[in-house]
């Protein structure tokens, strides 16, 4: 029996699929070096007293103690909480409502969708700057209303420390709600048309169909939207920089800006590391319940 050599022997494990493995090197490197390596590096160095340069002089939880004792960080967290809760609720409500309106066989649907979504194409810097201008008390909305005759009207969120975060919220929602609308719309379109027919045959009013039937069916879409909004919230940075630079005073500081300032402006690296580790922790707190809901119980193929 003539057996040609080379093909009868089992090749080495490592060499099997070699091209695919070589092609995956960038992915493996990114996953291991950047996402795992850099994250661990930062977490480790957050327990040191690194100032201008990173050094491995461990000081336990000192940086975290200092962090939670700093007023600026506390203001940042409070702002993030307000911004987060409001933007989560409002974006979901607005996004879903607009999607539901557009799903009602509206003429010029594409035009409406184009208008509602274009802010998402703009950067946070552009968004922040244009809303800074619109909310300018001397020329913007406040002045317009005063010109109409209501001379005592006051609406200057960017100059009022108590409500400045809501000024940023206005811009944030304007920029991001279109995306959620699109996702919700895709979710609505994914629902079997027969559901609507059945609801109509049963004589259920439209609004009730949405609340009782449609929204529960769209649970996965809502979860996706929720995760999307939430992971965006933690990263809020550019918008604040453009709109208020954290002001007035420190009234509109956010954690991401705190991290940047500590790391790159005030040469207090370990503080920045500690603050960013806190951001990571908060993301994990958001992600774990989601991962549990999404993947817990049943495994997906």
């Amino acid at each position: 029996m003539a057996t040609s050599p080379g093909t009868s022997k089992r090749p080495m494990r490592l060499l099997r699929n070699l091209n695919a493995k070589i092609a995956s090197i960038p992915m493996v490197a990114t996953a291991l070096v950047i996402f795992v390596g850099c994250t661990l590096w930062t977490v480790v160095y957050s327990f040191t007293d690194s100032k201008l340069l990173p050094r491995l002089n461990f000081v336990g939880f000192d940086q975290y103690d200092r962090l939670w004792g700093t007023r600026r960080w506390l203001v940042s967290i409070e702002n993030l909480a307000w911004y987060g809760v409001c933007s989560l609720i409002l974006t979901l409500v607005i996004g879903f409502t607009l999607a539901a309106l557009l799903d009602r066989k509206v003429r010029f649907e594409n035009t409406f969708r184009t208008i509602l979504l274009y802010p998402f194409a703009l950067s946070f810097i552009v968004t922040g700057l244009v809303w800074q201008w619109i909310l300018n008390p001397d020329f913007g909305v406040q002045q317009v209303v005063r010109d109409w005759g209501w001379t005592s009207f006051t609406f200057d969120p960017l100059y009022n420390p108590d409500i400045v975060i809501f000024g940023i919220l206005i811009a944030g929602i304007w920029q991001g709600s279109g995306l959620i609308m699109v996702i919700m719309l895709a979710g609505l379109r994914g629902i079997d048309e027969d559901i609507w027919k059945a609801a109509r045959v049963d004589g259920i009013p439209t609004w009730k169909t949405y609340v009782v039937v449609i929204i529960p069916m769209m649970r996965p879409v809502f979860v996706t939207a929720l995760v999307l909004i939430a992971s965006g919230i933690v990263k809020v940075y550019d918008l604040v920089v453009a709109q208020t630079s954290g002001g007035p005073g420190i009234a509109s500081e956010v954690p991401a800006k705190y991290v940047y300032d500590k790391m790159f402006a005030s040469q207090n690296l370990a503080q920045g590391f500690a603050a960013s580790t806190m951001m990571l922790v908060s993301v994990i707190i958001i992600l774990i319940p989601w991962a549990y809901l999404e993947f817990g119980g049943k495994k997906r193929g």
Binding site: M1, A2, T3, S4, T7, S8, K9, R10, P11, R16
Partner: protein, 357 residues
């Protein structure tokens, strides 16, 4: 001469054994059909032979060459897929020549081979078309042509007809048979359709749970199924089964007492619990049933006229019974009818091992 040899082939996915120590010896020019329900491992086996799946253990030889670890293209096989898998962005000519271009064959040789394959398959006018512009039958020819141009020894078919409607399926089945008749290549054909298997195959391998149950000619499998599973799997309408005991010269079940008559036992006759299976078409009725070793009058319950033949449902000694009759048989539900059969045409299986007795 052996064309394809599968030796102790085993495939495991983790703890799951998908193929278990398979052995098949396929002589040159044979049309072998791998038949089984979905999940039986038939497509997996074909993919192993093609080299698209790495085996866990065992060997595959094609034309006396051990190809267990060879690339699919080095095995001398061509494959026709269920979806035909024509490259949508290439013309028919491009599809046919893709393998040859990968092998860096000279241009004029490629052109000659494509032309020859197109002639054999009568697709010359289609060479410049894209697959999207072809009919189902034309697609199949191009898919076969892709194997043909490479001048392979073995054709592998992975359920090529199961996506099609019934009429086209019947046409293309004949076409494949004609092709095999003309080319005389070894062909391995996977299907879950027993009609395809019976009509196309020189031999059929019936698989279940990653194991070959029976490997034999269609007639042999049909007439002498090796176990109860094969008997039940092959044949439509399904074979009638009776559970009972062999006692002396009779098979006894509930209130029936069937004589064994001339039944040829493989391993000697012994009293034991057993199954008896008899195919619906081996049950005769009316005058023809009178002289058979076993006959009894039954009441017809449901009649399904199908044109070419008629299917009747009844009960025999408490067991449901299917009878296949002539298409013109005038029976109505509710009528009483004498039915009978010769047990020698049926099959006995051991109750425990379910193997043929």
């Amino acid at each position: 001469m052996t064309s394809v040899l599968v030796k102790d082939l085993t495939l495991k996915f983790g703890a799951l054994t998908v193929l278990d120590t398979l052995n098949i010896d396929i002589p040159e020019g044979e049309f072998l059909v791998l038949l089984g329900a979905s999940g039986c491992g038939k497509s997996t086996l074909l993919n192993c032979i093609a080299g698209l799946l790495d085996v866990t253990d065992g060997e595959i030889h094609i034309n006396d060459r051990n190809v267990t670890w060879a690339e699919p293209s080095e095995r001398g096989i061509g494959m026709v897929f269920q979806s035909y898998a024509l490259y949508p962005q290439m013309t028919v000519a491009g599809n046919l020549s893709f393998g040859l271009r990968n092998a860096r064959m000279p241009k004029d040789e490629i052109a000659a081979r494509v032309a020859r394959a197109a002639e054999v398959l009568q697709i010359e006018p289609l060479l410049d078309r894209k697959p999207a512009a072809l009919s189902g039958g034309q697609r199949q020819r191009v898919a076969i042509g892709r194997a043909l141009v490479r001048d392979v020894d073995v054709f592998l078919f992975d359920e090529p007809l199961s996506n099609l409607d019934a009429k086209l399926r019947a046409d293309l089945r004949v076409e494949i048979k004609r092709l095999h008749h003309n080319l005389k290549n070894t062909m391995i054909y996977v299907t879950h359709d027993q009609v395809e298997a019976m009509t196309l195959a020189d031999r059929i391998a019936i698989m279940k749970g990653g194991v070959i149950q029976q490997l034999d000619t269609p007639t042999e499998i049909y007439n002498r199924p090796i176990n109860k599973y094969v008997a039940g799997f092959i044949g439509s309408p399904e074979i009638n089964f009776f559970e009972g005991r062999i006692e002396g010269n009779h098979f006894v079940t509930d209130d029936l007492n069937i004589p064994l008559a001339e039944y040829a036992f493989q391993s000697g006759k012994l009293d034991r619990p057993a199954w008896f299976g008899i195919r619906p078409e081996h049950i005769l009725s009316g005058d023809m049933a009178r002289d058979l070793p076993f006959s009894q009058e039954v009441e017809i319950e449901i009649v399904e006229p199908m044109g070419s033949d008629t299917l009747a449902w009844t009960t025999l000694g408490g067991h449901p019974l299917r009878i296949r009759m002539d298409g013109q048989a005038a029976v109505a539900s509710g009528t009483r009818l004498l039915v009978g059969f010769d047990p020698a045409r049926g099959s006995f299986f051991d109750a425990a091992s379910e193997l043929r007795l």
